[in-house]
Amino acid sequence: MNAAPEYSEAYYELIARLFGEDRAAWSRLPREERERELRWYDENLETPDDLAEVPPELDGGVGRP
């Protein structure tokens, strides 16, 4: 993967206008920090895997094949 690009300040202002300040603040975080947080959610909360052989609606998902 390429390193996350540095977008202009105007870009983050646009994100704030389109999606709100919270999402703009999130998008300003370094990529590693965003990935660390997402990984924590994936490992600690129920986030069913859509590619599981048994789909979520039939009680499949991460750790519950």
């Binding site: 993967m1 690009p5 977008y7 206008r17 997402l38 994936d42 859509d50 048994v54 039939l58």
Partner: protein, 232 residues
């Protein structure tokens, strides 16, 4: 074809390889959307990371759902910051669009205007209104496209639904083979848009823009992209 499921197996294997590679290189858990035919995308190539490029995702986000349009705009902004001229095909915010358009050399403009006629009106005091009408047109075309698929799908789904639920526990390739057989058995229309007709979908969309947006013929002519851009 000696192995009708060969394509599916190859695709599934490649997808799994790509998923594993992406997970390894990014260190991230990830999700993947699979499209047999991405809407509004005539053809595309993966970017250097093996993923759909921003231009393609922005095309796919031109739906009739309001929540998708901020993504079209922000993807356009990312493309502009990355120096991609096609950003002007997607930008929705007037000030961004004007700035990006001014950075495009004269000799590249005609090609882009052909794909997005609104670009010829970037300096117009009516730009904001034209952007709204243009979005209304895309939304109406997508609603018509979706309705064409849904009309064909509705009856098939009613008849095939119990069987589809039972299929869900099978491996992917096996599900695909069984679904394909079901589609053939129930004569599911393979080309819903072609059956209704692109011209009819576009005509209905134009009428909606006139009814909902009070667009004049001149305004419609200023914003309407070629049919091959809207319904490839």
């Amino acid at each position: 074809m000696s192995d009708p499921l060969g394509f599916v197996r190859t695709f599934a294997r490649k997808m799994a390889q790509e998923s594993a590679r992406f997970a390894l290189t990014s260190g991230m858990p990830h999700r993947m959307d699979i499209y047999g035919k991405p809407p509004r995308v005539a053809s595309w190539s993966a970017d250097a990371d093996g993923l759909a490029p921003r231009h393609v995702v922005a095309l796919m986000k031109r739906t009739d759902r309001d929540k998708d349009w901020p993504f079209v705009d922000s993807l356009g902004a990312q493309m502009h910051d990355r120096g991609e001229p096609e950003a002007v095909l997607h930008l929705q915010s007037p000030e961004w669009l004007q700035r990006a358009w001014n950075s495009i050399p004269e000799d590249e403009r005609r090609h882009l205007i052909r794909r997005r006629p609104l670009l010829a009106c970037v300096e117009s005091p009516r730009l904001k209104r034209l952007l709204l009408l243009e979005r209304l047109l895309w939304k109406a075309v997508n609603a018509g496209r979706h309705a064409a698929y849904y009309a064909c799908w509705r009856e098939f789904s009613r008849r095939a639904s119990p069987i589809r639920s039972a299929l869900a526990v099978r491996p992917f390739a096996s599900q695909h083979a069984a679904l394909l057989a079901l589609c053939r058995a129930h004569a599911l229309e393979p080309d819903p848009i072609g059956r209704l007709g692109r011209a009819e979908i576009l005509d209905r969309a134009r009428r909606e823009v006139v009814a909902e947006g009070a667009a004049t013929d001149e305004e419609l002519a200023s914003i309407e992209p070629p049919a091959e851009e809207m319904l490839p």
